[in-house]
Symmetry: C2
Subunit: 196 residues, 2 copies
DNA sequence: GTCTATACGACGATAGAC
DNA sequence: GTCTATCGTCGTATAGAC
């Protein structure tokens, strides 16, 4: 079974990052969990960074899957963008390790075409829906920044346990982010230069 | 000069965290920069955690100073809350290390009365301004969560370099967060049960 | 492809002299 | 209060046998 260890290592690395976060991830623990020697992983990955990079790519791909799917199953621009915001909160809740990993994507973007592709696809889906609100590229990008930024921050607040005890469920957090998203969208109104 | 080293260590630890962030902070580097032996700091702090905790307290106090001052010099509830949101963005820009440190505050709150006090003062100032919008405690807390969460997220996006190149200044980020804050506040309207 | 063995460095923390 | 010296632990990474 050649190459069998490589994908197994990736899988275990994923679980490890899910548990302890990207910072505390170590090659030593990876080898331990895989039940192989500390040297073995280095036959499949040049170094630690290469392992982490492959996880970043997986994280972004997973988010693309979720966000694009969430937006596709909603009808109308506002509902699509709200669905995105809720999906961000849910992803951070279900995959805190991968969510934290995402922020490292900006740094390592040069090193992986896949990364560029997946982030591009997320952006394209968002842009598509937001076109309904704003035709101008720059202003529309600003709107998406406010929307995604707000979703990100609310997700973190929820993750950090800052929500009040009696309303700390994921559904509560999704509700809050939905309200915020609708507010941000309502503030820009609808771009009248768009034909139905 | 008894105790002189302790405050010097705190000062240097602060600079160190500002530079490399809380995760990469090490006692070894702290000693090195202070020009003392690796053992010296342990006469003043029980362990690494105690050093970091003292920095968390400093970070929260610094934010209290900024946020309360920013809100005090603005007139009217909306302007006060917008000023808070902008101050969050500016703090994350000017003190990224301390900003990152803040998220560890939730974990260690039990261990420092000062921490509880400072966070309480920030919350009180926010609550005071938000009373204009919502009288009900729970719903007002939700509003502040959306506001602070959005500010936090937009601050992080700016910090991570996700703003477009030609609009990546702090002032641009402040402008974006102000728009988002106003949108979130506008969505709840004004609580009519408030007199004046 | 995987192993054992190992080099090397960093860090946290302590003991005991002064 | 500060030093020197030191221990133990862990991590990254490589060399060479199988």
């Amino acid at each position: 079974m050649p190459g069998g260890l490589k994908s197994r290592l990736q899988q275990i690395a994923l679980e490890l990052v899910r548990e302890v976060g990207p910072r505390a991830f170590t090659m030593a623990e990876l080898s331990r969990r895989a039940g192989v020697s500390a040297a073995a992983p280095y036959k499949h990955f040049a170094d630690k960074d290469e392992v982490v990079l492959s996880l970043v790519v997986r994280s972004v791909r997973a988010q693309r899957d979720r966000y694009v799917r969430a937006m596709a199953s909603a009808t109308g621009p506002e509902e699509k963008l709200v669905a995105f915001a809720k999906a961000v909160v849910r992803f951070s809740y279900e995959e805190p390790g991968l969510f934290e990993l995402t922020l490292m994507a900006g740094r390592s973007k040069d090193r992986s075409p896949d990364l560029v592709r997946y982030t591009g696809e997320i952006r394209a889906a968002l842009t598509d829906a937001a076109r309904y609100y704003i035709a101008n590229d720059a202003r529309r990008y600003d709107l998406l920044m406010r929307l995604a930024g707000a979703a990100h921050g609310i997700a973190i607040f929820h993750e950090e346990g800052l929500f009040p005890e009696d309303r700390a469920s994921v559904e509560d957090a999704e509700g809050q982010v939905a309200v915020a998203a609708r507010a941000i969208l309502a503030a820009v109104g609808v771009d009248s230069s768009i034909e139905t």
